[in-house]
Amino acid sequence: MKKTMYEKIWDSHLVVEVDGQAPLIYVDRHLMHEVTSPQAFEGLRLANRKVRNPHSILATMDHCVPTKNRHLPIPDPIARKQVEVMAENCAENGLNLYDMKNPNNGVIHVVVPEHGFVHPGMVVVCGDSHTATHGAFGALAFGIGTSEVEHVMATQTLPQQKSKTMLVQVNGKLPKYSSAKDIALAIIGKIGTAGGTGHVIEYAGEAIKLLSMEGRMTLCNMAIEAGARAGLVAPDEKTYEYLKGKEFAPKGTQWDQALAYWQSLPSEEGAAFDAIVELDAADIAPQVSWGTSPEQVVGVDGCVPAPESFDNEGKRKACESALAYMGLTANTKMTDISVDLVFIGSCTNGRIEDFRIAAEVTKGTKVAKGVKAIAVPGSYHVKHQAEDEGLDKIFIEAGWEWRDPGCSMCLAMNGDELTKGQRSASTSNRNFEGRQGKGGRTHLVSPAMAAAAAAAGHFVDIRNFG
């Protein structure tokens, strides 16, 4: 039988199958941050268990770290303790940690690829749903809970049920100014936030092939927002080029050996998927979310929908409550919605390419009156590269704040947040109620759209901007 890439990775990682039990699969890489790990370390200690393979782990601090005044102690004592506990746990177990002062620090899903820690064909886990990001390399990467973090530390394996497979085929070329983020949002708009539940998505088609590695990371990152266990893109020359020479990439003859293996991974022609979804890239306009779920999204040239436009009662009710929470009226043009705050950053859109396109849009503009705009690079490496290219100056001259790396306003754990009723244009991944602060209203967009909104003070169709 012809195999999909998912099936190949699954088969090569199967450790044991016992009747009546979930199969055990082997975990190659385990990523860690300060929020979902402390209880797992405590569990290990209580059971007198050890980390089986410390070299499989890379840890960072990102969720609750401040993005300014990092030379001062963290003002929030509970966050400070969480960071301290992380440092103690990593030291005690001999784990590689990029702490707040480390030049490699940043958001876990931005940092890990920068060092070539994830390769095609691996099984990668992290106590974080956006682990799906690493599917961009053709690795099976998915989020797990804290009990599972403990399980992987102790056993290097995980009991897993095999997922179904879904092929998302994006044909043709994206129009100018539409990006990977817009593909991700358009897919979620089409299949819904539960559309991929129980599935691993493989993204394929011309538009996906044409994406850079950064773009593929943005796309796979949001597979979880479509409900999928993981997202995958077949490795190709771009993948190998990206990895070559990175710290944890194979070297010398091992590179050739690894490359031969990676080239064997893509799904075979004619392999069967449990579900297939097709989109035409040419139809994907720059997207803006209007509601409190990533599936509540529309092209920027569209309007806020009316509840009665949905034929399903659940969706009608969800629309009503989203409009009430978001303070929006049905049939308002998306370009008539004004914003108070603009955030560029996160594991979805905090990479160098994101800041390049945002800077291109920002150049020569000023942040609109009454709008606060913050740029939060995904890592120190992104920050320094952007500074080498002079991008920081473009943002600062336009009135943006240029910060240190962290998750920041993506989940607003570190003090960067919206106040009640404030509205944001955000390059992050979730527009749930209260996600960016209690009562805050989030609109998900691409970096280019965010930059244009900062300058105009409201959403603008980037295709007509400037």
């Binding site: 090569s12 044991v16 039990q21 969720h63 809970g145 599972e148 399980h151 779920s293």
Partner: protein, 204 residues
């Protein structure tokens, strides 16, 4: 983990779909390094007013749902973040059973690690259960995991499917890690094979 036993308890109704883990336990409570104490913050932003008082409009604040162990909710419960703080909060609050048509994958897995039984029903069944609770708030359902059935007084009883391995673990309260460590020899053998096949993954 406490073994899951047959019980009869109040079924609380929250007729909302796509309830995400950010609502179940908002991010400001994720900074704790302990596993306990999250129940006090369950559904915080819906449950409490800005001044910290109970929000009388919120379903679970109805006195009639006090002490409920069963939570009946709309589709796609637990979507979003992987935070296990969500099931910790649910269990700590006192629920050990959830009934919905569907759950997000990571949340579903996390439930079983914390003694919570997430039962899947079809939309018609969910509608009938919701109607039964609406008509008789405070109604008690019997949940029998051994026989995979839920019994309700108004005749909406049903049987449900559940993976036998997960069922066994819930019933025995067994630690997953202990179970996996029984296969230590196989893990070791796999690693030897893995080192030969993928030596670049082991280069340090």
């Amino acid at each position: 983990m406490e073994p899951y036993r047959k019980h009869e308890s109040i079924a609380a109704l929250m007729n909302r779909s796509n309830v995400d883990t950010d609502q179940i336990i908002p991010k400001q409570f994720l900074k704790r390094v302990e596993r306990s104490g999250f129940g006090a913050h369950l559904f915080h932003d819906w449950r409490f007013n800005d001044d910290g008082s109970d929000n009388a409009e919120f379903e679970l604040n109805k006195p009639v749902f006090k002490g409920a162990k069963i939570l009946v909710v709309g589709d796609n419960f637990g979507c979003g973040s992987s935070r296990e703080h969500a099931p910790w909060a649910i269990a700590d609050y006192g629920f050990n059973t959830i009934i919905s048509t569907s759950y997000a994958d990571i949340f579903y897995n996390n439930c079983f690690k914390n003694g919570i039984l997430p039962i899947k029903v079809n939309s018609q069944q969910l509608d009938s259960l919701m109607a039964e609770i609406n008509a008789n708030e405070g109604v008690r359902f019997v949940v029998d995991l051994e026989d995979k059935q839920v019994i309700t007084p108004a005749g909406n009883s049903f049987t449900f499917d559940i993976d036998p391995f997960r069922k066994g673990n819930l019933l025995s309260g067994l630690d997953d890690i202990g179970l996996t460590l029984k296969h230590l020899d196989k893990i070791g053998a796999y690693e030897e094979k893995h080192k030969k096949a993928f030596p670049w993954l082991w280069a340090q």
